[in-house]
């Protein structure tokens, strides 16, 4: 087993607009909330 050199938990994700991984996770969580809200509205609209 070879230990990998990189493992800083908050290293830069290298994604434009995001400086930390925490930001990426919050973005993913926000998108999830939006999807659930959209699906709820979708179900109500077509009920």
């Amino acid at each position: 087993m070879k230990p990998a050199p990189e493992n800083d938990p908050d290293d830069s994700p290298g994604v434009p607009g995001f400086r930390t991984w925490r930001g990426v996770y919050l973005f993913a969580f926000g998108c999830f909330l939006l999807v659930v809200i959209a699906l709820t509205l979708f179900a109500r609209f077509y009920a």
């Binding site: 087993m1 990189e6 938990p9 994604v15 077509y46 009920a47």
Partner: protein, 566 residues
Amino acid sequence: MSALDWFVLLGTMIGIAAYGTWRTRHTDSLNTYLKGNHSTKWGTIGISVMATQASTITYLSLPGQAYENGIAFIQNYFGLPLALILVCAVFLPIYRKLGVYTAYEYLGQRFDQKTRLLGAGLFLLQRGIQAGITIYAPAIILSTAFGWRLDLTIVFTGLLAIVYTVTGGSAAVNLTQKWQMGVIFGGMITAFVILLSKLPDNATHLAGVMGKLQAVDYTPDPKLRYTFWSGLLGGFFLSLSYFGTDQTQVQRYIGGAALREGRLGLMFNALFKIPMQFFIVLLGALLFVFYQFQPDTPLVFNQSAWQRQLSGPAGAEFRALEERHTVLHAAKQEKIRAWTVAEQSGDPAAEAAARVELAAAQKASDALRKQARDTLYAAAPEAKKTRDSDYVFITFILTQLPHGVIGLLVAVMFASALSSKAGELNALGTTSTIDLWRAFRPLAAHDEARNVRNAKWFTAFWGVFAIGFALYVSFAENLIEALNIIASVFYPPLLGVFLVAFFLRKVGGTAVFWAAVATQLLLLGLFYFGKDTVAYLWLNPIGCAACVGFALLIQSLLPARPSAAT
């Protein structure tokens, strides 16, 4: 299928398998064989994670399930993005830091050898069974629909996956999955567009009125299979187990050029998995609308079994059912027309009255379908091996799509079978090599060529095991649910062990080992005796909490540990 369909089907399937085999034929490094190329980027990892999770059952059975019960199944995936965030933040950095080949190797370092073997054993047991279902599921449906021999379909699919997975290992799996997902996306989008072109303008509204678009149900009833709460909590634990502790998935993301690539690959799935599944269940709901307008909508979609009975000794009974179906279907179409007129008139009272009449017509139609299926199953018990809804999408493909596109859609079914099957074989071979063979023969760990050779033999063994399992075992439960039910019974103790490993440093190997054993017995008991009380998704949080609780309890009864290591 025409010659063009066969050309498209065999060209894509054998072409992709041959390309994967040829490109990775010189894979002789253990690291590359088990983890894939060092240069693998997040896009490949993301696609590979998605392709491994979505088997043929996803593309074949899920539209049928939505046709039958609406799109509520989408809630099953609500816990997935949250679980992936946790895997990215906690699980993945630890796996990469330790440089392990398998998730269970970490258990050996954190606890002891017996806990590692328990983890690997639980994985091999449940994933070995699931590998059989993965290959059986598409084979039974496609062989029935096309009149192919079931055994030959199983053997052909299994052998094709074995050839390139054994040859190139993880590198071949990653490479072929990219192309297979291309075929899958292309085929599914083509089918969706053709379906849309055949629908009336108010199709979505009609699907909603007929109760097929109830995507989210906030009812807090544990007996209901699909609710927001069971999807969020049960789905979270199920996904955390699957993505965090199942080697089939761990193997897909622990390789790659850097930690960043694995994380972004998982975030790709966190963002796109629910929309992708929504697209598939919506396809099923719209298929339902499509068949409301067809004059020759089948009473039973497993037409090959149904036609045999029509021409058999009890044919009169089956013909009588068909005649009743023709009358009821025509009456329902009349109610749909009445509802459309009422809806366009803008009169809410008239619309509500028409909606009630339409619901009554649908109820009568559903009752007749159930009676027809029961009659079929009584006359031909072998038809029970699959659900009639599994044949909805394939019937649409065969009767409504042009030649060439039929071949492409059948290729979608085989591509998805091969991609998930290859991921499973790769993980089963790796776990057998690293956690069983090397654990018992530590001196052999330094012989790289021998390790690769053994990994290939183990991969081939599991491939043959899965083929044998698929040939000799039959499944009665809905196939997509069978996979989730098996996972919900066997995953929770495994996840509990990993959560204890990550978050409870004071708990040692002996306590967590016996906690996992006790939890497994508890879950088997709950599954067999509490089926009607607890929906299966709830077994995930219950089992996980029980394992953590048992571990703490047993640890408190044991003599204090000299030191707590991570």
